[in-house]
């Protein structure tokens, strides 16, 4: 857990509601999204490969944040009030969520590949379909499915201390911090890919590259999903 998360955790236990707690929650969420995982590379690949727009990047960041908040709330409430830990240990639950995330990503990758190959074999017009919302949504859900330990602990602590509303707002702020970073990464990917596409008109090589990019992106997403499923499954068998 990083020091922003530590400060947020300390403040949820301190008396009173400090605005500073929300600053730390935002920073902790942003930091959490910066650390490996959460499909940043994937999101970038997806947006670049599907000629995403800025609003697609916003949609992606937003869906990760919403899913993450929802996931933390459900698991935090179930853990605190429904003795979730006597049903399933948190390590097992979070590993299964990783498997689920991997399956979603794998599915998205395969679907991207199929869609691209299909559109190529049937027409050579450059009506490449734009970034699709279902694909973005699936990546968003997979990125936010597993709660972050810091957000989970701050919610559980808030619930245990009878400060539910404060803790819920901290978790929301944490999600907004995550969304900010993911949106930023998405905007970079969109800007980068439109730069390449724009200059491709004058360069034959680049032109060819822009036609290969979507396939590479789709293949990358597929491989990543397969890898995540494999690693999580190995983790499950090792911990049993």
């Amino acid at each position: 857990m990083n020091s922003f998360a530590e400060r947020m955790q300390d403040l949820v236990q301190a008396p009173g509601v400090t605005p500073l707690a929300f600053v730390f929650a935002f920073l902790a969420g942003a930091w959490h999204a910066v650390t490996p995982g959460h499909g940043k590379t994937l999101a970038a690949a997806y947006l670049a490969g599907s000629r995403g727009r800025i609003r697609d990047a916003a949609w992606l960041g937003g869906s990760v944040a919403v899913m993450h908040t929802f996931s933390v709330l459900v698991i935090g409430v179930a853990w605190t009030f429904l003795s979730l830990s006597s049903v399933v240990r948190m390590e097992t639950l979070t590993t299964w969520l990783q498997v689920a995330a991997g399956v979603l990503i794998l599915g998205t990758g395969v679907w991207m590949l199929r869609r691209h190959l299909h559109s190529h074999s049937h027409s050579h017009s450059h009506s490449h379909s734009r970034t699709s919302r279902p694909g973005l949504l699936l990546l968003g859900i997979s990125g936010g499915l597993t709660p972050s330990p810091a957000a989970f602990l701050v919610l559980a602590t808030g619930l245990f201390l009878g400060r539910a509303a404060f803790a819920v707002f901290l978790v929301l702020t944490f999600g907004i911090g995550m969304a900010g970073v993911l949106f930023g990464v998405g905007v970079l990917a969109v800007a980068g890919s439109s730069l390449v596409t724009g200059s491709a008109r004058s360069h034959a090589l680049l032109h060819r590259a822009t036609r290969i990019t979507p396939v590479l992106a789709a293949a990358g997403v597929t491989l990543f999903g397969a890898g995540l499923v494999t690693i999580s499954a190995l983790h499950l068998t090792a911990s049993v």
Binding site: M1, N2, E6, Q9, Q13, T35, P36, G37, W59, V66, M67, T69, F70, L73, V74, V77, W79, T80, F81, S85, R89, M90, E91, L93, T94, T95, L97, Q98, R133, L137, T146, S148, P149, F152, L153, A156, T157, L159, F160, L161, G162, A164, A165, V168, S232, H235
Partner: protein, 190 residues
Amino acid sequence: MLLAPAPAAAHPFGDPQTVAISRDPGRPDVVDVRWRVGGPDDLTVLGIALGLLPEGSAARYTDAGVVGGSARFSSYLLERITVSGSSTPCAGAVKPVAALALKGATVSFTCPGPITTATVSVRMLTDLNPAYRTLATGPGGQRNVYDEEHVAHSWTLDGDPPGRGGTVALLALLLAAVGAGFLVVRRVRA
């Protein structure tokens, strides 16, 4: 957060450590405190700190047995968890430990007489790393969080403690709102 940094920072992660405080139904002078470890790695960290496992050893599923069966672990529990009635300390004894990783360990505190309010101190693992927290539950839905700065808390062992119905209702409402919002956004965007 933990001495072994990876599990706390990354997915997947383990439960926080917990204690459950209850009064022995048959004996009004006995308070039971059950400690459950968070992630299994924490038992390894503790085992190393108590000198039961070699320095720098990786987590193994046998660690719980090594730690749970040791007298050093029992004294550690009795040192880090204490119970007192109205200013008189209660004498603790560790119940036989079975399946430490899964079920935890229980310390039974026998007080000088029948007890209705107990002050329970919990300082589990904070000597290893001050960031460790313990989420505690008591009779009638009472809850508290122990950390390095909050080591003692007073628990009501009988009667009706303040209910938390409002909290649960609020959370259910919030969850429903988030879920509904998600669906509406999906509809609008689709």
